[in-house]
Structure formats: structure tokens, C-alpha cells
């Protein structure tokens, strides 16, 4: 479903702040695969996600989604294939617009927008139904302004918006990191439900090693702009946090499996 080949990206080239964020990343996701991604700060996890989403052009390499080469495609065109949830709960929703308007925007992702009505009465019933999967009572608040919702509610809403129109690829960029533990757990549960229901191909960044092991069907670890660990199937199911740390040390050639990575 997703094929990333030999991706390179350097920020601020030629300056004192030069940072080689991606150094030849190759990654293939089969349809329905749910991949969790871990790695220390600056390992290139978010950079990889943003490269796939098309936030800026990459230096070299190709990105293919469902057979379509999207490497040179603009961010908003690429959005037709991709559902995204950001780390910052404020980024995924339009605060000044109504809950139902946000959903209506997202269900038209990838459509040509016209002078037809931005939201129809029939849609509202559909949204009420779909909001129930979040289990937050939002189905009764369709006409609330999103700005008055809590960070957790907004993040759950963003998750629904990313998947309301089934995306070919779901990108989750530490989408629970800014939430309190209880809310984070709830949003993660909703993530599992939604991904399982629609059999979504998913790439999820997390800081939490336990979450990375418990969720998904495959686990990858990044280090200095490369993928250094890639486990799936039975092997992943049996992983422990200790083993993961050992894998990291082995891959990075040092024992700096630091607090940053351990954060959980």
C-alpha cells in the first residue's frame, strides 16, 4: 500500500543548522498492516511521516501509495490518499468551526469542492452514528464549536476525521503524547477499534515502548535517519521492553538507550 524507497532529506543544507533527518529510508507497508514506529528524539520519525504526507519536498527517493507515485504531488492533493492525526491536538481541527462542519470538511477529502452545500441534513445522521465509536458522547454535540472541546476530545475527533472517508494510509504522529494518560488510553483504544473495523494501513509514531509493542502488527525503530529495527508477526508479539532496548543498543552500536527513548 505504501512504498518508500531510499528517501533522503536534509534540513538547512549548507548552514550551521544542517540536519540530515532522513538518510536513505526504505519501507514497504502491505495493505492492512498496522506499524508502530519508535525512536529517540531527532531520529527522523516525524520527518518520515511528514515526507509521506508531503509537507515539503524530499531531496531524493520515491514515495508510492497504492501504486501511485506521489513524490512530487502537493500536500493537499496527496491528502486524497492519507488520513493524518498530529501530535498537537490543536492542529487537526478548525477551532472556529462547528463539530459537524469539521466532519463535513473531512468527508470531502479528495473530492473536488463545488458550490453544493457544505453539509447536508443526511450527513448529520451519519456523523451522529460514526461519532459513537469514539465513546465520548460527542454524537450529541454536533453543533458545538470545536474550540470549546478538550484536547482529548479534539484529538479523538481528528482521528475520526482522518478515517471518516477511508484513507489508503493512516498516519498517526504521536497522537496521544500531548494527552493525559487516561485520555491517551481512550484515544488509543478508539484507534485500535477504527483501524480494525476498516482494516486500515497505519503508520503510528509513539514515544511509549509498551504501546509500540501492544498495538499494531509490526514494529520499526528509527535511529539517525534510518530504520534500524523491523520486527513483525510472532516475534513482535513476544517482544518485551527490555528486549527492545537491547535491540536498540545493538542497532545503534552503543548503549545510549537513553531516558528519552525510555520515556514511558
Amino acid at each position: 500500500m505504501l512504498e518508500v524507497k531510499n528517501l533522503y532529506k536534509t534540513f538547512n543544507p549548507g548552514t550551521i543548522n544542517e540536519k540530515a533527518a532522513l538518510r536513505g529510508v526504505s519501507l514497504t507497508l502491505e495493505e492492512g498492516e498496522f506499524v508502530t514506529m519508535i525512536g529517540g528524539n531527532g531520529a527522523g520519525k516525524s520527518t518520515l511521516l511528514n515526507a509521506v504526507a508531503g509537507v515539503w519536498p524530499v531531496d531524493s527517493g520515491t514515495i508510492t501509495i497504492d501504486g501511485v507515485d506521489v513524490t512530487a504531488m502537493s500536500e493537499h492533493k496527496r491528502a486524497a490518499y492519507i488520513g493524518r492525526v498530529f501530535q498537537d491536538p490543536m492542529l487537526g481541527t478548525a477551532a472556529t468551526m462547528l463539530l459537524e462542519e469539521n466532519l463535513a470538511l473531512s468527508i470531502r477529502r479528495g473530492n473536488h469542492r463545488t458550490f453544493r452545500r457544505g453539509i447536508t441534513p443526511a450527513e448529520r445522521d451519519q456523523y451522529r452514528e460514526r461519532l459513537k465509536i469514539l465513546d465520548l458522547g460527542l454524537e450529541n454535540r454536533l453543533t458545538a464549536r470545536v474550540g470549546i472541546l478538550s484536547g482529548g476530545q479534539r484529538q479523538a475527533l481528528t482521528l475520526l476525521m482522518a478515517t471518516l472517508k477511508k484513507p489508503k494510509l493512516l498516519l498517526l504522529d504521536e497522537h496521544t503524547a500531548a494527552l493525559d494518560p487516561k485520555t491517551a488510553a481512550k484515544v488509543l483504544e478508539a484507534t485500535d477499534r477504527i483501524v480494525a473495523k476498516d482494516n486500515l494501513t497505519t503508520l503510528m509514531i509513539t514515544h511509549n515502548m509498551r504501546d509500540a509493542i501492544v498495538h499494531g502488527t509490526r514494529l520499526i525503530m528509527m535511529y539517525e535517519g534510518r530504520i534500524v529495527v523491523d520486527v513483525s508477526g510472532e516475534e513482535k508479539k513476544k517482544l518485551t521492553v527490555e528486549q527492545l532496548l537491547a535491540l536498540f543498543n545493538q542497532a545503534s552500536g552503543s548503549d545510549e538507550a537513553d531516558d528519552k527513548l525510555l520515556l514511558s
Binding site: E75, H76, A79, M90, A94, E101, L105, R113, I119
Partner: protein, 325 residues
């Protein structure tokens, strides 16, 4: 005092005309979250195009339409400078505004003023609005419905209705989303550059329409008529918001609030003039009013942040939201 009261109908008429311009400013400043300075130029462009075409024999409506299109083109230029050339919006607007000064002069045949000869009753009668109708509609020399307040109020209501319908369409929603959160908009497949250009085009079309109406009202277009227009537009937007925000929530009400804000602005101005202040201080006064109205909400917000009340917990403060985003 009598002078002030007798000047009121004129002030309200002018306020209404500027209100249309202020709705244009509302679209860029509030909906798109861009301060567009093109308006200082496109306001005069509207007036110039109208007066030149009208005195050249065009009908009032076709001349108005041409003025609107000219304004839209100005907005298009600013939009392309911003989105295609990557120039910051505020600077793109200033560049277009400066360029328009030359273009406006060229439209007016390199004269600083072009006038409509309203001493010819035939020409006067063809106008939609005129300063003279303010009195004539009362004395009976003109039917009452030709009073500028009635004509412009009806026109404003019509425009607000059309705009409200537009902002409810898919394209209109995309435009609002672009102004509200451009990251989210792009993630939802919205071409934010297109939205920005479209917003600037619509806004400057309205501004030019307002300029054309004011030129008609004064029966002349003068090269400096748009100078400081942005300040008057912002004043109307902010006054409308401060005065009516508690009761006006829906978008059409907010736009109505902006139009009313422009009227309030002109009434206040008239009141100040009635005290005998030298008219040369009007621009200073306008700037002070806008600065004051911009400061109040800021300080209010700062104050409520310092002492958060339960009912007004800042967005995202619950559930560990990232409120400094």
C-alpha cells in the same frame, strides 16, 4: 447639537456605504486571518472605474459591475503575489496598493479628481445613490425609497445573504477552514492557496463596490479617497465585534454587526466633528479609535488568562491539551 442631528442621515448613509467595504475587510481579516492592505488602493479603483465609465455613457449597473471586477483583479494580483511568489500577505497588499495608485490615476486620465456632473438632472436621476437624495427624499423631490439609507441597506442585506450562502457551500467552508487552521485544511485536501486567492478576490470586489458607491454618493472620485480605508474597515469590524459579539453568533449576523459597526463609526465621527474639531485630525482620531479597540480585547484576554475562571477555561487546557500551540 442641531448640526449633529441634521448631519445624521448623511453619516448613516456614508457608514452604510463603508459598511460594504468593511464586510470585505471582515472576509480577509477575520475569516482568512490576513491583514490585506490592497483595499486602500482597490477602494479608489472601484470609484475611478465607476465614474469614468458612468460619465462615458455606461449604465449605472454595468459601471458598478465593471468596478467590482476591477477590484477583484486587484485582489487577484495580491493573492498571486502572496501564494505564487511567496511574498508575505501584508507586503503583497502594500505592493498592489502602491501599484494601484498609478493605475487609478491612469484610469482617471491622469487627473487627481474626476466628477459626475450632478447639476444635470438627467444624469443625477440615473444614479443609484447620491448625497443629494438624502435631502430630496425627505422634501419629496425624490420618492422616499431613493433615500441612500434605504438603497444601501437593501443592497447590504442582499450582499450579506449571498455571502452567507456562499460560506455555507463546500468552497466557502474550505475557505473558512483555511483561515481557521491551514494545516488542518491541507490535511483535509483543501488547496489553501486557492482559498486565499479566492478570499482576496471576493474581498476586494466588495471594497471596489463600496468605493464605486461612495464616488457616486459624492459625485466624484478623488485619487486619495481610499487612503486609510483599511483603518476604517478594521474599525468597523472591531466595533461590530466588540458591541455585538455577545448577541451575534451566526456568520450573517456577524457581517450585519460589521455593517452596523461602520455606521457607529461614522456617527461617532460626526459627533466629534460637531464639537468643532479640525477635520484634519480625523485620521489621527480614526487610528486612535482602532488602536484602542484592538487593545481592549487583547488586555481582556490577558487578564482572563491570568485569572482563569472555570467557565472560561482556555481552549485545550483540559486533558493536557497543548495550549501554547
Amino acid at each position: 447639537m442641531m448640526g449633529f442631528i441634521s448631519a445624521l442621515p448623511g453619516a448613516i448613509s456614508q457608514g452604510l456605504i463603508w459598511g460594504i467595504m468593511a464586510i470585505g475587510v471582515y472576509i480577509t481579516y477575520k475569516v482568512l486571518d490576513i491583514a490585506d492592505l490592497t483595499v486602500d488602493g482597490s477602494f479608489c479603483t472601484g470609484g475611478a472605474v465607476f465614474v469614468v465609465l458612468f460619465t462615458g455613457g455606461w449604465s449605472v449597473w454595468t459601471a458598478l459591475l465593471a468596478a467590482v471586477i476591477a477590484g477583484m483583479l486587484a485582489g487577484l494580483v495580491t493573492g498571486l503575489l502572496h501564494t505564487l511568489c511567496g511574498i508575505p500577505a501584508i507586503l503583497a497588499g502594500i505592493l498592489t496598493q502602491i501599484a494601484l495608485w498609478s493605475i487609478n490615476l491612469a484610469i482617471m486620465g491622469m487627473k487627481a479628481t474626476v466628477a459626475i456632473n450632478v447639476t444635470t438632472p438627467e444624469l443625477l436621476n440615473r444614479l443609484l445613490v447620491s448625497l443629494r437624495f438624502v435631502r430630496d427624499a425627505v422634501t419629496g423631490a425624490q420618492p422616499f425609497y431613493r433615500h441612500p439609507i434605504i438603497i444601501v441597506a437593501v443592497l447590504t442585506a442582499l450582499l450579506i445573504t449571498i455571502l452567507y450562502r456562499f460560506f455555507g457551500t463546500e468552497i466557502g467552508c474550505a475557505l473558512r477552514a483555511t483561515g481557521s487552521n491551514s494545516n488542518m485544511a491541507r490535511a483535509q485536501g483543501i488547496n489553501t492557496n486557492f482559498s486565499i486567492v479566492l478570499g482576496l478576490v471576493i474581498s476586494n470586489g466588495l471594497v471596489a463596490l463600496s468605493g464605486a458607491l461612495l464616488a457616486q454618493y459624492n459625485s466624484a472620485c478623488e485619487i486619495n479617497m481610499g487612503r486609510g480605508a483599511i483603518v476604517i474597515g478594521l474599525a468597523a469590524v472591531i466595533i461590530g465585534e466588540v458591541v455585538f459579539s455577545k448577541i451575534f453568533h451566526e456568520m450573517y449576523m456577524k457581517m450585519t454587526g460589521v455593517a452596523l459597526g461602520a455606521i457607529i463609526y461614522y456617527i461617532v465621527l460626526q459627533a466629534v466633528l460637531a464639537t468643532g474639531l479640525n477635520a484634519n485630525y480625523l485620521k489621527l482620531l480614526s487610528a486612535v479609535i482602532v488602536a484602542a479597540f484592538l487593545t481592549v480585547p487583547y488586555l481582556k484576554k490577558k487578564y482572563t488568562h491570568a485569572k482563569p475562571r472555570l467557565a472560561e477555561t482556555p481552549v485545550g487546557a483540559e486533558d493536557g491539551g497543548n495550549s501554547d500551540a
